[in-house]
Every structure is written in C-alpha cells, then in structure tokens.
C-alpha cells in the first residue's frame, strides 16, 4: 500500500467512526422523540436546540454515575463483557460502502473503509462474536436475572443467525462473490436484489430485528419478566456501552440490508460514476436516506407489534424461517440453472 492509500484509509476510518457515533447519538434521541410522537406526546425537547443536545447530556450523566462492581461478580468477565459487545459492533461498519468511488487527482478512492474479499462473512463473523459478550455479561454478573437474560439472548441470537446466514446465500449465488463492491455493482447492472430475492429480503429483515434484540424480539430484556436482562447489574458507562452497541448494531444491520437488497448507494436509472463529484454526493445521499428509512422502521415496528412469547420466537426461527431460507436457496439454484440453460 502506498502512503496515499494509508492516509486515505485513516481518514475514512475516522470519518466512518465519527459518523457512526453521531448517528448513534441521533438515534437515541430519535427513538425517544419518534416514540413520543407516536404516543401523542412531545418527548425530550428542552436540552439544546429542540432536544438536539439531549444525547450529550445523557452521556455526561452516565459518565458521572457510580461505577458499581457487585461483590458476587466475576470481575474480569464482568468488566470485559461490555468491551466484547462494543468492539465488534463498532467494527462491522468498516466493510459497508457508503458511496460511489471518489476521484481525487489520479487516485480512485472507494468510499468504504476496506473492501475485503470476504466482506459478507466478515460481518456475520463479527456479529457472532458479539453474542459472547451478552452471554458473558449475564454469566459474569453472578446474579439470576442477568443469567437468564444472557441465556435467552444466546439462544435467540444463534437461532436467527442461521436464518440470516442462509437468506444471504441467495444473494451470493446471484452475485458470485462475497465483496460488497461486487454485490452493489451487480445490482447496478441488473436492478436491485429485492426484486429477485423478495423472500430472502423478508427473512433477512425479520432476522436482523431478532439479531439486534429489538421489539417484537426483545425477550432478552423483557422488563416485565427479567427486570433488564443481561445488563441488570451494570451501571454508569458500562451500561451505556450495551445500549450504544445495540444502536450501532441497528445501524450496521440497516446498512447491511440496504447493501444486499436495496442497491447500496445506487440510485435507479442514474449513472453516478459518470457524474463526477455530484454523482458521489448523490450516491452518499441515497445511502443515507435508505439507511435512515430502515432506522425509522425499527422505531415504527417497536410501537406497532407486541412482543412474542419465547416459544413463539423459537417456533418462528426454527420451523418457519430456517426451512423457508433453505427453500429460497434451492429455488434460486433452479432459477439460475434454468437461465444458464435457456
């Protein structure tokens, strides 16, 4: 790698990290404001400009709270668990392309931190690492509610991980590659994958709601049954880290969904690559709008559907989504073979 590449990579790393953090902060505010509007009330609107500085005030308050480490907790595991949850959550955004390649002088800079040849697997692998954090948090707290919450979280996350992994296979078969560059280029040529893989898109959408522990799948932190789930014994910024990771995961999952099924930064019927700087700006805007829609969908669904029971959750994951995802793989296979033969 040349010096220019390394400098560009550093700038992009900082940019993506900063924008992700900013989006998480805005998302915590949006969650409360949108929820409030859906319930015909105002929500936090006093701090800063119409409530815009509320996340900062929240963060400061978390920082100034007492850092409690319960006596019965397993200290190393208890302290490491939030880190294990947070690091993968912040790392996954690195492979998502957020705009068309930018021409700077003679260099063509892809707007993506790293276009790994195993991009899709990279995200799946890192989200699996996050599961360890939840289980260890529940186990290391040395308390009953967190232990139950951690167990539920692990069983739920691994169940829906299968459906998620299988639903992506259809897209991989169409594209013939695991890099996000190829997946988006393919969709630019032949139209968005949602039209060819509607079933996979639906399964993937349901699975990412379960993977991010959001309603209607938030059984891991069902307040009425488990107090708070795996993070019951956590206080101060350690507690906040679990929430930040959850929002970071929501952002990554939305970006993942957009990249796989909705063309990433692609705008239909427009050739961004031929438009120079304006094309790049347009593509970034398209990406932000699409991801923003799915983030809004998370909040919208939260106030629309009631929570599942645990047996219903397991039934949906293992008896419905898993077979459907397999059927989708087989159907995609037959379709591709038929098309290759025709």
């Amino acid at each position: 790698m040349s010096g220019f590449d390394i400098a560009a990579a550093l700038v992009k790393v900082l940019l993506v990290f900063g924008v992700t953090m900013l989006t998480i902060m805005l998302m915590t505010l949006a969650e409360r404001r949108v929820s409030a509007f859906m319930q015909y009330r105002l929500g936090p609107n006093r701090v800063g400009f119409g409530g815009l500085l509320q996340p900062l005030a929240d963060g400061l308050k978390f920082l100034l709270k007492e850092d409690i480490i319960p006596t019965q907790a397993n200290r190393p595991i208890y302290l490491l668990a939030p880190v294990i949850v947070m690091v993968p959550a912040l790392m996954t955004m690195a492979v998502i392309p957020f705009g068309a390649p930018l021409q700077i002088g003679e260099h063509l800079v892809p707007l993506q931190v790293a276009d790994l040849n195993i991009g899709v697997l990279y995200i799946l692998a890192l989200t699996s690492v996050g599961v360890y954090g939840l289980v260890l948090a529940g186990w290391g707290s040395g308390s009953k509610y967190p232990l139950l919450g951690g167990l539920r979280a692990s069983a739920q996350l691994i169940s829906y991980e299968l459906a998620m992994g299988l639903s992506i296979i259809g897209v991989v078969m169409l594209t013939g590659g695991l890099t996000f560059g190829e997946i988006i280029a393919y969709q630019q040529e032949t139209g968005w994958n949602i039209w060819k893989q509607p079933l996979a898109a639906l399964i993937f959408l349901i699975a990412i709601f379960a993977e991010t522990n959001r309603l209607p799948f938030d059984l891991t932190e069902a307040e009425q049954e488990l107090v708070g789930g795996y993070h019951t014994e956590y206080s101060s910024l350690k507690f906040a880290m679990f929430y930040l990771s959850e929002y970071a995961n929501m952002i990554t999952a939305s970006a993942f969904m957009v990249s796989l099924f909705f063309g990433g930064w692609d705008v239909p019927f427009v050739d961004e690559l031929a438009m120079g700087g304006w094309g790049v700006a347009l593509s970034v805007l398209a990406f932000v709008v699409k991801v923003g829609f799915f983030l809004f969908l998370y909040i919208w669904v939260r106030w629309t559907f009631p929570r599942f029971r645990y047996d219903q959750l397991m039934r949906l994951g293992w008896k419905v989504l898993l077979p459907l995802a397999l059927v989708n793989v087989v159907l995609t296979g037959f379709w591709l073979v038929w098309r290759a033969g025709a």
């Binding site: 920082l63 880190v83 707290s141 691994i158 296979g333 037959f334 290759a340």
Partner: protein
C-alpha cells in the same frame, strides 16, 4: 492481500481504545460509596436467595448443539454459492450435488423436529 486488512486493524484499535477508555474513565470519574447492600445481587430488593448458577433448562444446550450442526451447513453452503454461477453454466450437476446434501440434512432436521427440540413449554 494482507494490506486490505490494514484499515481493519485501524478500526479495531480505535474501537478497542474507545471501549476500554470509556471503561476506565467511568471508573475514575464516578463517585464511589460502597455499601454491602448496594454491592449485592439485585433480586427485586430482597436479599439473594439460593445459588446463582443453579440448573438450567436442557433446551438451551440442545439449541446450542443443533445450532452448531446447522451453522456448519451454512458455512459449507457459502463456497458453493460463490462458484455456483460459473459452474451452473456448464450444467446443473452442481445443483444436484447440493440437493443431495440438503436431503440428507433434511432427514436430520425432521428427526429433531419430531423429537420436539423446537418445542418450548
């Protein structure tokens, strides 16, 4: 090749630094007034009763085992899916191979279903 992963290293260092920094900062900044009750396990305000790590429902372990089997299958499908389009151009054999594998797996899946592993009462 390995150079592709250099930005990932940057991201890792930044994320780990942020997480560990937050952990350390909150430990230093916050007040520390320890009492026995505050440091005990939370059980809705009552003194903790019985051992924490008691026996767990066996279904969690079953789900874990079944997950490993099916996750290996998913991992097995990925390389197949990547080369599928090239191979399908030369005939449908690649599809039949995987169908055979899936049928074998289906037998196991139906067995697990009939045994009631997915039932949570």
């Amino acid at each position: 090749m390995i150079g592709d992963y250099l930005p990932i290293l940057f991201v890792f260092l930044l994320a780990a630094g942020f997480a560990l920094g937050a952990l350390g900062l909150t430990h230093v900044v916050g007040p520390r007034i320890k009492t026995r009750v505050k440091l005990s396990a939370y059980e809705s305000g009552v003194d903790p009763v019985g051992p924490t790590h008691s026996r767990l429902n066996v279904r969690y372990f079953l789900i874990g085992l079944v997950f490993i089997i099916f996750d290996l299958e998913v991992v097995f499908l990925y390389p197949w899916a990547v080369i599928f389009r090239e191979q399908a151009a030369q005939g449908p054999f690649i599809l039949y191979e995987m169908l055979f594998f899936l049928v074998v797996l289906l037998v196991g899946y139906l067995y697990i279903w009939r045994k009631g592993v997915f039932e949570w009462e």
